[in-house]
């Protein structure tokens, strides 16, 4: 089966009706389900957090069968993700969508777990370290979207598991984890 940037695509990616928004309800529901899965899997593998509807998103076109999703179709599938809590619209005009292939809560749990496993309790890390530092290399945290990270950290803060403080500039935002 084809690959898209290292990601192995499912066989039905070459089925032309897959790219046409189906009018019949039952068929549509199935189609939406398949697209939701695919989008999440793809974004997770490629560490994509934001999809711009008006940009060329590789997943939305298949040059082999010469088909692309219409704008309407993209909006329908992404809205389905949003309804499920797996994505969020970043603007009112639905031009950009934040993909939460891990929910914020899941991220928070992941961070906490990571801190525990690596003994970073009671230590301070900069936000940037978490995003692109050596410690997080090879984990899901590497390359995490800043907004998503901040939200997860704030969630931890609310639970009293972390404390965020500002440095002299935004780059210097730091987190102190507590057990």
């Amino acid at each position: 089966m084809q690959k898209l940037g290292g990601f192995k695509l499912p066989h039905f990616f070459n089925y032309p009706p897959y790219f046409t928004l189906q009018p019949v309800r039952e068929t549509r529901e199935k189609q939406v389900q398949l697209w939701k899965e695919l989008i999440l899997d793809y974004c997770r593998s490629q560490k994509i957090f934001v999809i711009g509807l008006e940009e060329d998103f590789p997943l939305f076109s298949n040059p082999v069968i010469e088909r692309s999703l219409s704008h309407e179709a993209r909006e329908v599938f992404l809205s389905a993700l949003v309804a499920e809590g797996r994505a969020e619209w970043m603007d009112k005009s639905h031009k950009k969508c934040l993909i939460l292939w891990l929910r914020i809560q899941a991220w928070a749990d992941y961070i906490l777990n990571f801190v525990k496993e690596n003994g970073f309790e009671d230590s301070v890390m900069t936000v940037e370290d978490i995003q692109s530092g050596i410690e997080t290399r090879g984990t899901e945290l590497a390359g995490i979207d800043r907004c998503v990270l901040m939200r997860a950290l704030r969630l931890l803060e609310q639970k009293g598991k972390a404390a965020i403080f500002k440095g002299t500039s935004t780059d210097d935002e730091g987190v102190k984890f507590s057990a």
Binding site: M1, K8, P10, H11, F12, N14, Y15, P16, P17, F19, T20, Q22, P23, V24, E26, T27, K30, Q31, Q33, L34, E37, L38, E66, R67
Partner: protein, 433 residues
Amino acid sequence: MAANWLPPVLLTASGRPVFLPGEIERCLLSAVDLEAEENPALPTLRSGLLVLTSHRILWIDESSSSGCAIPLAAVVHVFHPKKSLRNMFASPRVRIQVSTSPDGRVGEKGTRSEMVTIVMRGKTDPDVFYGRLLEVLRSRTWEASEESEGRERGSGSGEGSARVRMPVVGVSGILRKEQEMWESTDKSLQEAFHDLNALMSKAKEMVQLAENMRQKLLLGSNAQASANDDELGSKQEIQDWLLSVGIVSLVTKESAGALYHQQLSRQLADFVKLPLEKAGGMIALIDVYCLFNRARGTELISPEDLLQACALWEKFDVPVMLRKFDSGVMVIQNKAHSDDEVFARITSLAQKPDALLMGISPSDAALTLGIAPALAKEHMLTAESKGLLCRDVSPDGFRFYINLFKEIDPSDIYSIKTTGLVGAWVSATSTSG
């Protein structure tokens, strides 16, 4: 005396001949001689203007403003201007034989005859003149004028002589001729109309009869309570008989619309049987409208009539029905028509290797199923709504594929199936590369 062998011609002040009533100029020739060949006693008239009219041959000497005429009534025979070696270089001549009185005067009903040669020294085509001469001789217009003159004189002698003779040549002459033609046509038409009037009076009777029938039927349909089987039967008979005669809408739609539509409804049901068979069990209503009206020829029905006629089928036991698709398209189909059978054929078509790869378009299905493309599309849309097919919309057009979505398991989307529809599809797509 010899000089008076031809009757004289009156000339007007400007030298034009004075014409007789009804006389029309037919031909003018200049530089013409009139010779009495065989009678040297009669002087030759040289180089004059020859005027052929419907009544006479006039010869006018323009220099002396005098002229004479040969009445056509006196012409006994005309000889064809034969060309021979002898006269090839000579001026063309036409010889005529005229009757003369015993003392040599040319006139009608003479006892003797003379030969007169018309020598055409100017540039003329003798054949044209000859042809015209024959024409005027044949038409014998002078006789008609004499007749009418005689009539005129008979009806009011005083009037006749006091009447001013209007010139009747040129345009007015032509108009006069037209007038005469119209009068004779009118006469023959009048005779014909006698027969027509007889026919019309018969037709009036027919119309009256039809009107009486109509009244009876109207009364019959309005008085519902009195309708028993007998009456209804005879009413139907009358309707059928009238239909066969060609008078369909005897009963007006306003008063008894149901009867008219009932009749139409039955007619339509019978008519539509054959086209339905040919079209594979289903025809678009618009096509039936065209076919039916074309078959009727003159008494065309309106779209509303057609709709009502179809709607009435529910009340009768006919093997056809009207069906409306979601898209609004209306068709007539056999009651026995089975949608499922069509779907079975469509799905089997959609599972052929080519179709798995490329899908099928409405025209592909139309070809295979033997039905119109518009109807094929309707069937495919219906099959889609039942979950048998899926659509593929692209710049290439509108195509349908067999529905694979049903078979894909969302929790296991990456495994490659080898069985079922998906398996077939996978193998079809992989073999094509």
